[in-house]
Symmetry: C2
Subunit: 580 residues, 2 copies
């Protein structure tokens, strides 16, 4: 296939678009791949659409390869199924809602769990029908508060969403693993650098959930990775290794100190170091943070979280640990209602004596000694030993994670990184099956409640994620599997010999099955070279002055390497380069 | 590729769905191709999606083949461009409108003229850039008052819409012709029986517009076709041949008759036949119908339309003739204001004497004699001769068209038929270019206003249109180019020999590049045969009892013909059948 730039609907731009902040957005607009139509709404111009379709094809192949079956739903969906699962409300302002001419309520689908569940329920009835995995590659809508970064976070986007339906938890695990394996193949084929991170800690016995993040400085998601192993995780999912327990017998007895004007860790440590002959650091103190929790349908309850004084409680980790419960900090009125809580001097004693659940950081193991509040203004207790003087009601891993913390796998230390979420796999369990009573009739004629998984890939976002990882200051650099063409043939001059050689090469390469972008425009070689760098086809064939000496130049867009190749060998050479 | 029915997400239904009236709707649901999700909203199950994609591929190939370039727009579009062309208002309740979280107005795109125009304006500036034709295959939305017939008239549907941009009228004609040729290739490849009809008469100097109608009794569009030629047209576009002019000299003089109580054609003809010695028919009378017209931005004006008394004025033809003007019948108050109009007895005399424009049917040629109103209650004039006693201000072709009327091409007579609109090609002209000032800078540095064409194919509707044309009472019968598989292999029995032979055939056929639907279910041969008929793959390979004698049966779904083929020859035979 030959695409001629003389007639291609493509105009490159020299300037970055005013609204673009990240490289992928700037370059995809400048190189004529996408155009903004509305906030978070983009049109795909010819080259952009080809990249999108190439990605879509890889996703489809790998989904089909493990037996997932493609179907397609409307985007315009009736309210009722989403009311049944309460998502009509839960989505709040994040979905687009509308009414039809009769006043009936509709939404533009953000994901399709409800519809897939109802469809399987409509077709299947026996345990013999299961398992089944269905998917679609379909336009989705979310009314993002702040659409940003071009197609990276749009309001209308293309997504592959799939759903597995299994009779058993083991079946779900297998479906989940099938998706995980397929996602790895997909992202590998797309040439992405990515990590698979646990999405939540699963502290509440939640189901498995992992995110695939394309590593990119401009990504919205933060994660940590080990300096010395492949370990990577969302900060919410990092597990802090517990240190070894310590003997208790040799510890000095706990002792209350008058520590005037020490409501903060810093003032406390300074005071102790000035007034005792021991050296304390913030890590020797235990900070007891009071929060409140509200489980769905229950009242608010108080909870105390103890973390080493050199760390804050990470509120996002705290929320993740108790999801779907709501978490909030205490207000003044809460303290007023519980006068035993002496702000700045709270200790385990008053907390536990008053029936408040008391959870401690994993570092608070048996035998560790702490400086902490003595439940009395201006007083702290020193050498309060876990397992001797207090025993937490449980462990909670919600302290902030810091660069330099040991990696949970014991190899290296953690460093922070940023990524773009490109895939998410999630064991839903029976939430949707329960909402719609999706049962299979078992071999014993008893109903078996189906368990589901939900799996997404941001297909249009991948175009931006790849561009984000693969570009330089001159333009885009497409991985071979997604590039809109295999070879960019540049006719570097107006001389008729060059033009006819260019046409001839394009035909020969096309005849060999390569997709050719032929720059047959009547513009200067300089403009053509700049556009070739910007557009980012991986291999560039330059037909220029060397032709008189029987050579053409083959340039690798990524490395910048150029080789001169004799005309007679050029086609074979290029086929070899492209096919690898 | 082998698709196994044992795991395919497909459940056929024995009963027609309660809401289905037309065969395509019944069969596409029963055969498990589509499922209803909302009024006018359907999901595509695996086999249905394959048919849809096959059709899409044919459309794409033929569009690409003549140089149209594929791009893709969002479906969620801002209001502003549609306000600029007044379509935000004009669409009335026929489009879906919504607001985003900030209260900004959006619509779900019904067609994309505005966006394409703006996009071309954004990229192109010089006459050297033109012509260009862009297209998309994209989901469209219309809030139909009465979604019906399944995917035949849905509210969310897949459409190919393309737009041509030319510098000159001649260029537009060529772009139009390119589309017309491509559409013919597309619909031919899809195996459709269709006609191309002029959509409007072009009486007002309007631009060319043709519709492609798939012939189907259940179609919503009526048209007429010749019994003896390929002539076909929308009723609005039929042109009535004018009869030869007649000599005037030998005609008797016009004579006013007292015709009491003859306000209708029927009473008039009866009276004349009873009271004169000549024989009159309704066709000898001239009926003068008064209507009023309102051109955009102008006042209402009266208009008289004269048609032979045996025909009514066809209001749709009348509207088409004056589009975009509004047309209405006169109200009592209009008659009151114009007392010279004597209801039931209106003649050309009073009309023309009072300055009302008077247009006559093409049959009213010079020399024809008519019985018509004498502008006085209970009086008619006989032998009023055109060109002698009155001369119309012009010709208007809006009388009803009847079966049996001569075909305008002089061959045969017209018969009525019904069709499904599957394509529409339309020379828009400069409407949208004017709205958005889409100009190219000409070679003389003066702006050239671009002229556009708009062209649509209802891609998802085609699935239904093909099904409507190609089925019998047992099920669907897919044309080969759109069928979800090439061969349906039915293992007609549970015997292990049959099963392994079926598997083996499927593998061999797949290895030869055929798409195989393999019925490897553990159900009875009867159920399998019925499902094979319902699902409608064009060729069915039955592996049954004959296998013991070394033969299998190949059945043609359409003709019902069965041939026994020796096992060793079966694969070659099937490849031959499929490849043709």
């Amino acid at each position: 296939m030959i695409t001629r730039m003389s007639s291609l609907f493509l105009r490159t731009l020299r300037e970055d678009p005013a609204d673009a902040e990240v490289p992928s957005h700037k370059l995809l607009v400048r190189a004529g791949y996408v155009r903004r139509v509305a906030p978070g709404g983009y049109s795909w111009l010819p080259l952009g659409l080809r990249v999108l379709r190439n990605i879509e094809a890889v996703v489809r192949e790998e989904m089909d390869a493990f037996g997932a079956q493609e179907i397609q739903f409307p985007a315009l969906l009736p309210k009722e199924p989403y009311e049944a699962t309460n998502r009509w409300e839960e989505y709040g302002p994040n979905i687009f809602r509308l009414k039809d001419r009769k006043g009936a309520d509709y939404l533009l689908g953000p994901t399709h769990e409800e519809l897939f569940t109802l469809t399987v329920k409509g077709e299947y009835s026996s345990y013999k029908d299961y398992p089944v995995t269905l998917y679609q590659i379909q336009t989705k809508y979310r009314d993002e508060a702040r659409p940003r970064a071009g197609i990276l976070r749009g309001r209308e986007f293309l997504m592959k969403d799939s759903y597995s339906f299994d009779l058993t938890d083991e079946g779900l695990s297998k479906s989940y693993q099938d998706h995980r394996d397929a996602y790895i193949r997909i992202f590998d084929r797309l040439g992405l650098e990515y990590v698979v991170v646990s999405a939540t800690s699963g502290a509440m016995g939640g189901s498995a959930s992992e995110e695939f993040l394309a590593v990119a400085e401009t990504g919205e998601d933060t994660f940590v990775r080990s300096t010395e192993s492949g370990y990577a995780a969302n900060v919410e999912a990092v597990t802090t290794p517990a240190p070894p327990e310590q003997p208790i017998d040799d510890k000095p007895a706990a002792q209350v100190h008058h520590t005037p004007n020490t409501p903060t860790i810093e003032t406390l440590v300074d005071f102790l170091n000035a007034n005792t002959d021991r050296k304390f650091t913030a890590a020797d103190t235990l900070k007891n943070v009071l929060v409140k929790l509200k489980h769905p349908g229950k009242d608010w309850e108080l909870l105390a979280v103890a973390v080493p004084g050199d760390r804050e409680v990470d509120f996002k980790r705290l929320e993740a640990a108790f999801e779907p419960a709501e978490v909030a900090m205490l207000e003044e009125s809460d303290f007023a209602k519980n006068p035993f809580l002496v702000k700045g001097y709270i200790g385990p004693g008053a907390i536990q004596a008053n029936g408040i659940r008391f959870l401690a950081d994993p570092r608070v193991v048996r035998g560790t000694a702490w400086v902490t509040g003595a439940d009395k203004a201006d007083h702290h207790v020193v050498d309060l030993v876990a397992g001797r003087d207090f025993t937490p009601d449980g462990v909670i891993d919600v302290a902030e994670v810091r660069e330099g913390d040991p990696s949970p796998d014991g190899k290296g230390v953690l460093v922070a990184a940023r990524g773009i979420e490109i895939g998410h796999i999630f064991q839903l369990g029976r939430k949707y099956a329960n909402a719609f009573s999706l049962d299979a009739l078992g071999p014993d004629s008893k109903p078996v409640r189906i368990t589901m998984g939900s799996y997404g890939i941001g297909v249009s976002r991948l175009v931006a994620a790849i561009a984000e990882q693969s570009h330089d200051d001159r333009g885009l650099i497409w991985p071979r599997n997604v590039a809109p063409a295999d070879v960019h043939v540049v006719i570097a001059g107006k001389d008729e010999t060059l033009v006819s050689a260019g046409e001839d090469f394009a035909k020969q390469l096309s005849a060999r099955g390569l997709k050719v972008l032929l720059d047959d425009r009547k513009t200067s070689p300089g403009v053509k070279f700049a556009d070739a760098e910007l557009v980012g086809i991986p291999t560039i064939l330059v037909i220029g002055r060397g032709l008189a000496n029987g050579v053409v130049e083959v340039k690798d867009r990524k490395s910048g390497d150029r080789v001169e190749v004799p005309v007679a060998e050029a086609v074979d050479h290029l086929v070899q380069v492209v096919r690898g």
